[in-house]
């Protein structure tokens, strides 16, 4: 509880003694490249294989004369939009971006770079953390949209190559009884997860004490705590919004 209180105070300090808009704009653009663009490859790889494996496993479990083939792509579509793309990719995102944020801030803390900012009269938490949170909130939903597209594409490729489903059946299943609310639901989740990963990882890194060993510990804790927060938020959002 003490840590949670400290986290809330930390978040509130991000909005105090801010620098100019231009400063935040420039920093946020740099962070967008680091957080978004540099995560494209891992997100693409995970998404394609996630879709492919989901297709093959669904086909394996749902094979029967009474179940039409298009159910496979229907399952892939709903699983991807509701859970796999926003949540599983958030865990990957926490592993890649979260550990990077915590490591970077932790190193800055132990090498007195954060103290240097404070001595100059700069609100170090706002200057360093706010652009990361903004970039994360801007870029992660884009990654989720891309991930959903690639997962469904991966499912199509795997399904047609292994001949468990015909291409036309797959497309038919994707369109069958589509609930449009699944898309805003996935996007709402992605905004919440992006905020959680960036803020929790920043919090862990910012308050690192000690040396190189503690920076490693902070990175590990950032990923662990982000993953737990993602799963809890996932459950709460599903309960509230579905």
């Amino acid at each position: 509880m003490k840590n949670f209180g400290k986290y809330i105070i930390f978040i509130s300090t991000l909005f105090l003694r801010r620098e100019s808009f231009k400063t935040y704009f420039n920093l946020s653009v740099k962070e967008c490249i680091k957080i978004g663009y540099e995560s494209l490859f891992i997100v693409a790889i995970v998404s394609i294989f996630m879709g492919a494996v989901t297709t093959l496993q669904t086909a394996f479990n749902l094979v029967g004369p009474l179940i039409p083939d298009y159910v496979i792509s229907l399952v892939v579509r709903d699983m991807t939009l509701l859970e796999l793309s926003p949540t599983i990719i958030a865990i990957v995102f926490a592993g890649k971006v979260g550990s990077n944020i915590a490591g970077e801030l932790g190193t800055m803390r132990i090498t007195e770079q954060i103290d240097a900012l404070e001595v100059m009269g700069i609100n170090s938490s706002s200057y360093l953390v706010l652009p990361k949170i903004i970039a994360s909130i801007l870029m992660y939903p884009i990654l989720v949209v891309m991930s959903a597209f690639l997962a469904i594409l991966g499912g199509y490729i795997a399904g047609t190559i292994s001949e468990v489903i015909a291409g036309t059946e797959y497309i038919y299943g994707l369109r069958y009884e589509f609930n449009p609310f699944n898309i805003p639901f996935a996007l709402i989740k992605s905004y919440v997860f992006a905020f959680l990963v960036a803020s929790i990882s920043s919090f862990q890194g910012y308050y690192t004490e000690g040396g190189a060993l503690e920076v490693g510990k902070s990175s590990t804790q950032a990923v662990t705590k982000s993953c737990i927060a993602i799963l809890i938020a996932d459950y709460v959002l599903a309960q509230i919004l579905l």
């Binding site: 003694r17 620098e19 400063t23 190193t107 800055m108 090498t111 007195e112 770079q113 103290d115 240097a116 404070e118 001595v119 100059m120 009269g121 700069i122």
Partner: protein, 248 residues
């Protein structure tokens, strides 16, 4: 001029600083000396606002830094330059960007003017044509010099140095000490140096405060330090064989 009045600081139940008062003069290199773990760095952190004293005040030209308004504290902080023990250069920025950083945040100069100012400060610290180098490509002494250039680039009125020659060879250490003193005289800054190096004490100690177990035990300068009657200070000064040999 910086004045401190009855500074007290404790961490949990452990009292680290006891009623420390003193005056640090403008245009002089003021040294805070003492053995490791005596509270020098804690005092320095209280002076620059990284820690808040439990009791007492820090006054920058009679402006209360400890209990002043947020606006006043920010205003004073923007007059402070600090050299950290390891340099604290930003890893992701090159030398020019590091030195220019305070100007980007705190000044409204044009880009060309900023570059001119950066080059001037790098020249003052004896570093030229290394603008594009990254901190990882610099030696320990060069990092300290870049740190000093960053500390003075914004025409700082107050210069703080935390163990400026730690980790440096004796020759480079003396050069850094002399550079700090030269800049203090030229720029008329109020400079406070925290150190436990006797070479620094003898080289640039125009005003010295000796701290032992969180208490101020002696105040003077490098000319009268050998005439003190304090046992703890004597032990500190004559801790190595060479100094014991020249003990009067």
């Amino acid at each position: 001029m910086i004045e401190i009045k009855n500074i007290n600081k404790a961490f949990n139940d452990k009292q680290v600083l006891f009623n420390i008062s003193g005056l640090f003069e403008k245009g002089k290199t003021n040294l805070i000396i003492g053995a490791s773990g005596t509270g020098k760095s804690v005092l320095l952190k209280c002076l620059v606002g990284l820690l808040k004293p439990d009791k007492g005040n820090v006054l920058f030209n009679d402006r209360d830094f400890t209990n002043g308004s947020k606006k006043l504290i920010t205003e004073i902080r923007r007059e402070i330059g600090m050299l950290f023990q390891g340099g604290a250069l930003f890893d992701s920025k090159n030398v020019e960007e590091n030195v220019m950083f305070p100007l980007n945040i705190l000044s409204k100069l044009k880009k060309a003017e900023k570059i001119e100012r950066v080059n001037h400060c790098l020249k003052l610290v004896g570093l030229e044509n290394i603008n594009d180098k990254m901190p990882s490509e610099l030696s320990g002494g060069m990092k300290k010099r870049v740190g000093i250039a960053r500390a003075i680039v914004n025409n700082s009125k107050y210069l703080f140095c935390d163990e400026p020659n730690s980790g440096l060879d004796p020759l480079t250490a003396i050069k850094i000490d002399n550079l700090i003193q030269k800049l203090t005289h030229e720029l008329k800054t109020t400079t406070i140096v925290v150190t436990h190096d006797m070479n620094s004490v003898m080289e640039i100690g125009e005003k010295i405060m000796f701290i032992h177990q969180g208490k101020k035990l002696w105040e003077g300068n490098n000319k009268n330090i050998f005439n003190n009657k304090i046992k703890e200070l004597d032990e500190f000064i004559f801790s190595n064989k060479l100094m014991k040999k020249i003990k009067p």
